[in-house]
């Protein structure tokens, strides 16, 4: 399944085809669904109307015959009640009923036990067809006590004429049986006492025969049930008179069948859908006149909807096949139409792998794919040109980088790299570091000894990179030149300013701190031209007071002021550029002077304020503060400890 999904995801043609076919399927299903629904409704309506016609016709036919029985019975009753004391007349009445109505099965005029003393306990004038003749006898005996029979008791108990439940009449004399129903009504004497019952029987074999032959559909059949639900007509002859419509519900409840049985018992008319033997059947039912019986036509759903379902299956199969073909051809067509794209993709991969000179397919198409191909060709040309330019630029850059690297080495070479320690001198020890932000930087520091004096400076040229580095080289050279014959820092600064301003066409400037430490006395003369004030770390930590002078290279006539301070043995002068105080972390927060003094204070407390120690501690602190943020400015620190004892 996952493989199929992955395949579908990979193939645009399959995906687009599936979407189209899915959309078509939805439209087909909706359209066919509505059509099938309407058609099945129409077929159902036709079945109902067909069954109703048959039921109405049969019912009317039965009603006609029943009415005839009732009329004949009423006439005989009238005669019997006119002469209730003449038993022999009863034979005549009974016989004449059958003579006049040859389609009746039998007639008996039965009286209460011992009604006619002279005739014995049982008296029933009974007439019945016997082949072609008519037989009239006196019925009733010990073995046939008619007054316990349904047909006798029912009108007596209900006080009205009634049709009894059909039953199979066994004629012992001829050993024949006939399914009959009887119309019974009470005979009254002149005092309105119930003295007997007239019973007119009608064979319903003809009825059951005509009902069972009704077949509106090939597999449909008819049933007839009595008041007690007993089957009197059923295609399964073993059920007739032996089972009722409820029998099968006794062991396996079936509410639908039970509801049908009750509806038929109540003499209702209608239609129900019942599942019989695993198949849904439409059952149309209607009462049969006043007999209390009800007939039903059972039509299997497959019969009613047989042809409809065949057509529906054929249509569904055609639609399904059509959709499959549609899917197949769509995939083929889309794959063919998109094949140039595949080729383009392959060539793009080739180009991506470095083969910029591959020949793109010439599609000769004017559609979107053609346009894409042209655009792709244009892109390939631009790419080739760009790559060649890039190669050139890259080689130029490599050359510049190489030169810069050399420049950086030269610049670093300008700075002192030998720092005097206790081992070298007994009056001062020095340490410094310079870390440029780019290959070359604009910071500088310098120191040298002359006439028992330490000449030193630290500075920061405006800007960065190569221009700043050149300016720095010039500044350092000028410092060395001027300080070689001048020992007062403000004069050194003034002279340097004059020289630099003169050659400063680019309007750059440099902040500079110049100091001259008299090594025998520890007296420090200094001049600060706009640079950060150094920090003294000795008997406590504090900034060296500095006058406000402008940086070197700005104004040719500026008079720089001289300051001096006594440096006591053990005190370290910590000088730095703004690359330290303005070092920024990832959130652009600055290191600031208070952190510098904090580190210095901690170093002092730990007796770690020798030049090398203090520069290293400060470097660690600033690295920790900056973290992974890119270095934004050159960082230069120089520490000078006066150790003369």
């Amino acid at each position: 399944m996952r493989t199929i999904i992955q395949y579908i995801r990979k193939k645009l043609s399959v995906r687009v085809s599936l979407w189209v076919v899915l959309f078509a399927t939805v439209i087909f299903v909706a359209a066919l669904g509505i059509m099938f629904y309407q058609s099945s409704k129409a077929i159902q309506q036709e079945a109902i109307s067909r069954a109703s016609q048959i039921l109405d016709k049969t019912s009317l036919y039965v009603e006609g015959i029943l009415n005839r029985v009732e009329v004949a019975s009423n006439m005989t009753k009238w005669l019997a009640e006119r002469h209730p004391d003449e038993p022999d007349s009863m034979f005549v009445y009974s016989r004449s009923m059958l003579l006049k109505n040859p389609d009746f099965y039998s007639c008996s005029i039965a009286f209460e036990a011992d009604h006619f003393k002279e005739k014995g306990r049982y008296f029933s004038a009974y007439t019945k067809h016997d082949g072609d003749s008519i037989r009239t006898i006196q019925g009733g005996s010990e073995n046939y006590q008619y007054f316990y029979m349904d047909w006798y008791l029912m009108p007596m108990l209900l006080d009205k004429p009634c049709w009894t439940e059909p039953y199979v009449d066994l004629d012992a004399a001829t050993n024949t049986s006939e399914m009959v129903t009887t119309y019974s009504q009470v005979i009254f004497d002149h005092q309105r006492r119930k003295i007997g019952v007239i019973n007119t029987s009608l064979s319903i074999s003809w009825l059951s025969h005509s009902i069972s032959s009704i077949k509106p559909y090939p597999n449909s059949y008819s049933i007839m049930v009595g008041r007690g639900g007993t089957y009197f007509v059923h295609p399964d002859s073993t059920k007739i008179t032996r089972q009722t419509i409820f029998t099968r519900t006794m062991e396996k409840p079936d509410t639908a069948l039970t509801a049908l049985g009750h509806a038929m018992q109540r003499g209702e008319e209608g239609m129900k859908i019942i599942n019989l033997d695993g198949e849904d059947c439409y059952v149309f039912y209607k009462p049969l006149g006043k007999t209390g019986c009800s007939m039903a036509i059972v039509c299997p759903e497959s019969d009613i909807f047989g042809s409809f379902k065949r057509v529906r299956r054929a249509v569904m199969a055609m639609v399904l096949l059509g959709l499959m073909l549609m899917l197949y051809f769509l995939i083929r067509i889309i794959t063919r139409e998109l094949s140039p794209l595949r080729r383009l993709a392959d060539e793009a991969e080739n180009i991506a792998s470095g083969h910029f000179d591959v020949q793109l397919p010439d599609l000769h198409r004017t559609d979107e794919i053609g346009q894409l191909s042209h655009s792709f060709a244009g892109m390939q040309q631009s790419l080739v040109q760009y790559i060649s330019e890039l190669k050139e630029t890259t080689s130029q850059k490599a050359s510049i980088e190489s030169e810069l690297h050399i420049a950086s080495s030269i610049q670093m070479g300008m700075l002192p790299d030998k720092f005097p320690t206790k081992a070298d001198r007994d009056d001062v020890q020095i340490y410094a570091s310079l870390t440029p932000a780019k290959d070359v930087g604009g910071d500088l520091f310098d120191f040298y000894f002359r006439d028992e004096k330490l000449f030193f400076c630290i500075g920061d040229v405006s800007g960065k990179g190569v221009p700043a580095s050149l300016f720095m080289a010039v500044t350092r050279a000028v410092f060395r030149t001027v300080s070689s014959h001048e020992s007062v820092p403000n004069r050194i600064m003034t002279r340097m300013n004059e020289i630099i301003v003169e050659m400063n066409k680019t309007h750059m400037f440099v902040t500079l701190f110049v100091g001259v430490l008299d090594l025998p006395t520890g007296l420090l003369h200094y001049c600060n031209a706009g640079h950060d004030a150094p920090v003294l770390v000795g008997d406590g930590v504090g900034e060296l007071p500095c006058d406000s002078n402008i940086p070197v290279g700005v104004m040719p006539s500026w008079q720089f002021t001289l300051q001096d301070a006594q440096i006591f043995p053990g005190t370290t002068i910590f000088l730095f550029t703004d690359g330290l105080t303005e070092a920024m972390d990832a959130e652009f927060a600055q290191f600031q002077i208070n952190r510098v003094t904090d580190v210095a204070t901690e170093a002092l407390a730990n007796h770690q304020h020798e030049p090398h120690q203090i520069v290293d501690l400060m470097t660690d602190a600033v690295h920790q503060f900056v973290g992974d943020a890119e270095q934004s400015d050159d960082l230069t620190m120089m520490a000078i400890q006066y150790i003369k004892k």
Binding site: Y148, M149, L153, L157, V168, G228, Q243, F246, T247, Q265
Partner: protein, 324 residues
Amino acid sequence: MQHDLNDEKMKRILILMITVLLALCQSAKAQDSETIVFTPQWTAQAQFAGYYVAEAKGFYREAGVNVKIEHLLATQSAVKRLLNNDCQATTLQLCQALEIVDGGVPLVNILQTSMNNAMVIVSARGKNPLTQKGARVGIWNVEFGQLAICMSMKERLDYQWVRCAQGINLFVAGALDATLAMSYNEYYQLVQAGFEMNEKDVYRFCNHGYNVQEDGVYMTREYYEKHPEMAKKFAQASRKGWEWAAQHPEEAIDIVMRYVEKDHISTNRVMQRLMLKEVLRLQIDRESKKREFRLRPDMVRQANKMMLENLMLSREVGYKELVE
């Protein structure tokens, strides 16, 4: 159709006496002394499954007794056949047997199958039978239903008894307010006719102090005393038939259905299966929970008491009169 019960009883006693005389006259009637003709008191149905099984499975033959099961015609009476010596054994309800012995024909109960009473009154929907004073109630036109008459009198219900061949159609048609039914037969026929049975509308005699045994196999004492061994063998083989039927109910129904088909009885397998199940249930004694096959003296006394109170018997018929 209300019958005066005393008149009915007098008539029945007269008929019995006449038939006894006839029976005595026919005592010399040629009868194969080796064959017992057994006539159950109703048409072929699972109520008599044990006897059919005994015949079909050859239990009678194994016991060395020839038994011929002959059913009644629908309108005949088994009692009359017994008294006419048309058959030598029949099934009777205990109350029927008491009436016959009281009428002057000594009978012997050779096998008692029923241990409980099966009679019920089913009334039209929503009406408790005990609240229907003066209701029209269907009763068999043959000699069952003595207990119901006793109960009607005792409870002062004054039912109008309507004797009929079968009350189902009359009841379903609404001509009766209630009908007597056997829990194994008419009860299920009513269900089968679509009547929605509600236990509130069903009065079961066995649950109201009228649990008197019903079916047992009876012979005239005269015949029994002439053929005691045959009678015992017949009874034992019949009992074996019932025990087999209880163990193999489906096979027993197969056998029952063969008898039913032969006599063209309008019934079906479902009904016969339900009937057999209920008949077998009724054979289990409520106290011992066993199929005892014995007449209980206490039930004989109870039946006597009720029937004497209602003048159905002229004297008490003792337990010992009925057994060997």
